[in-house]
C-alpha cells in the first residue's frame, strides 16, 4: 500500500471520526506534538543500555499510550467512532505516579535548579519533558477553543496523563544520570 495519499495536499486532514479539518487547527498541532514526543521517547529508548529492560518496557508502554491519546484527539467526543476506542482511564496516570515515586526514592534530594543535560539519555529525557509540556499546552488550547461545557472524560484523562508525564520525564532524566554515574550540574546564579 502506498505510504502517501495526497489527500492533505491542500492543507486539510481527516479525523478518525470522519471530519475534514485544517492542519492549522489546535487539535492537529496537539497530535503533531504527540507524534514528536513519541519519536523523542524512541530516541531515549535507543540510547539506553539494553540492560535497563524495566525502564525500556515502561517507556514503550508510554509510547503505546501516546498512540491511544492521538486517536482520542483525532475523534470528536460524541461520534460513534469514539466507541471504537479503548477508554483511557485514570489507572494510566495512577501507574505513572507510582513509577515517578519509585524512581524518586532512588534519587538524592534536589538542592536547586539543575541544568537540563548530563548523560545522553538524561538529555533526551529533558527534551521529552519539554515537548510533553508543549503538547499539553496545545491540548489545553484545543480544549478551551473547541469544547463547550464539560470536558469529556477521554480528553480530560488524556490531559492529566500528559501533565503527569512531563513530571515523569523530569524524574527519569535525573534517574538516567544516577544510573550512568553522571553528576548533575546545579544552576549557579
Amino acid at each position: 500500500m502506498k505510504i502517501y495519499t495526497g489527500t492533505g495536499d491542500r492543507g486539510k486532514t481527516s479525523l478518525f471520526s470522519g471530519e475534514r479539518v485544517s492542519k492549522a487547527s489546535e487539535r492537529i498541532k496537539a497530535y503533531g506534538d504527540l507524534d514528536e514526543l513519541n519519536s523523542i521517547i524512541g530516541a531515549l529508548v535507543a540510547a539506553l543500555p539494553p540492560k535497563y529492560t524495566n525502564l525500556v518496557d515502561e517507556l514503550e508502554h508510554i509510547q503505546s499510550n501516546l498512540f491511544e491519546i492521538s486517536a482520542i484527539l483525532a475523534t470528536t467526543p460524541d461520534s460513534p467512532s469514539m466507541n471504537q476506542l479503548r477508554s483511557f482511564s485514570r489507572k494510566e496516570f495512577d501507574a505513572l505516579e507510582k513509577a515517578i515515586d519509585a524512581r524518586q526514592n532512588e534519587l538524592t534530594e534536589l538542592k536547586g535548579f539543575i541544568l537540563p543535560g548530563g548523560h545522553m539519555t538524561a538529555a533526551w529525557s529533558h527534551i521529552a519533558r519539554t515537548v510533553c509540556r508543549r503538547t499539553e499546552r496545545h491540548m489545553v488550547s484545543f480544549l478551551v477553543e473547541s469544547i463547550q461545557g464539560e470536558i469529556p472524560d477521554q480528553y480530560r484523562n488524556a490531559q492529566i496523563y500528559l501533565n503527569r508525564l512531563s513530571d515523569y520525564f523530569f524524574v527519569i532524566a535525573r534517574y538516567c544520570n544516577h544510573l550512568s554515574g553522571t553528576t548533575e550540574k546545579l544552576w549557579k546564579k
Binding site: T5, G6, K12, F67, S70, A71, S81
Partner: protein
C-alpha cells in the same frame, strides 16, 4: 491504536470466478472468530501476508474474500490455484471501516475489489445508501445484481469509453460525483485505489463542505 488480534487456522472451502480477472474464495469461519461488517482479515499463506476485506457478513458460516488476480502479485496467483481443503492462517479482524449511523446521507464509493466491504455492510442491513462502483470493464461489476436490488441507488461507473451503455455511467466515480451529486453534506465511504481516494477527497473538500470521509485504501 488497533487492538491485538489472534491468529486463526482455516481451510479453503471453494473457489468461484467473478470475472476474467477476479475471483472469490470461501474459507471456513473458525468458531471463535467474529468481526464487524467492513473489517479486514490478514491472510497468511506460506510466508506471504495480505489484507483482504470480508464480503460475507458476521452471520454467514463462511468467510468470503473478493480477490483480483494480479499477475506479478505475491499471493493472488497462488490463491487462484490452491486446492480446496488447503489450510491457511489469518489474523483479524482488522480496521475501522465500519458503518457509522448519522443524519447525513451515506455515499459509498468503491473501485474494483473495493466493493467487498460494502457487500458485507449492505448484506447486514445498511441499504438506504447510494453506492458507486467504478471499474474499467462491465465484466468486473461483480455483485451488481445483488447490489442493484438491495440499495436505494446503485451506480456502476465504467472508465473504458468503449464500454458506454445506457445501463452504466460512462466515466470515473469522481466524475459522477462532480456532475450528478447534489450539493450538500454527506458521509462518504471510500474504498479502493489510492488515486480514487485522493481525487474524491479533494473533490469533496471543494464541492461538499461539511461532509465526513471514511477511507479504506487498498493500493
Amino acid at each position: 491504536m488497533e487492538a491485538k488480534t489472534d491468529t486463526y487456522s482455516t481451510k479453503l472451502v471453494e473457489h468461484c470466478r467473478l470475472s476474467k480477472k477476479s475471483f472469490e474464495i470461501r474459507l471456513k469461519k473458525p468458531p471463535l472468530f467474529s468481526f464487524k461488517p467492513g473489517q479486514r482479515i490478514c491472510l497468511i499463506y506460506s510466508t506471504v501476508e495480505r489484507d483482504y476485506s470480508l464480503v460475507s457478513t458476521p452471520a454467514d458460516n463462511d468467510l468470503i474474500l473478493c480477490i483480483r488476480n494480479v499477475e506479478e502479485g505475491m499471493l493472488s496467483p497462488l490463491l487462484s490455484t490452491i486446492a480446496t481443503g488447503t489450510r491457511l492462517e489469518f489474523t483479524g479482524p482488522h480496521g475501522y471501516f465500519t458503518f457509522q449511523p448519522s443524519p447525513r446521507p451515506a455515499i459509498f464509493v468503491a473501485t474494483g475489489t473495493g466493493i467487498a466491504p460494502f457487500c458485507s455492510i449492505v448484506s447486514s442491513g445498511v441499504t438506504d445508501i447510494t453506492l458507486l462502483h467504478g471499474v474499467t470493464l462491465a465484466d468486473d461489476l461483480y455483485y451488481a445484481d445483488f447490489l442493484r436490488s438491495s440499495v436505494k441507488r446503485y451506480v456502476p461507473c465504467l472508465s473504458d469509453p468503449d464500454e458506454s451503455s445506457v445501463d452504466y455511467f460512462s466515466g470515473r466515480v469522481t466524475e459522477y460525483l462532480q456532475k450528478h451529486l447534489a450539493p450538500g453534506a454527506y458521509d462518504f465511504y471510500l474504498c479502493g485505489r489510492s488515486e480514487m481516494i485522493r481525487d474524491a477527497t479533494l473533490l469533496i473538500d471543494e464541492k461538499f463542505p461539511g461532509s465526513f470521509i471514511y477511507t479504506e485504501q487498498y493500493f
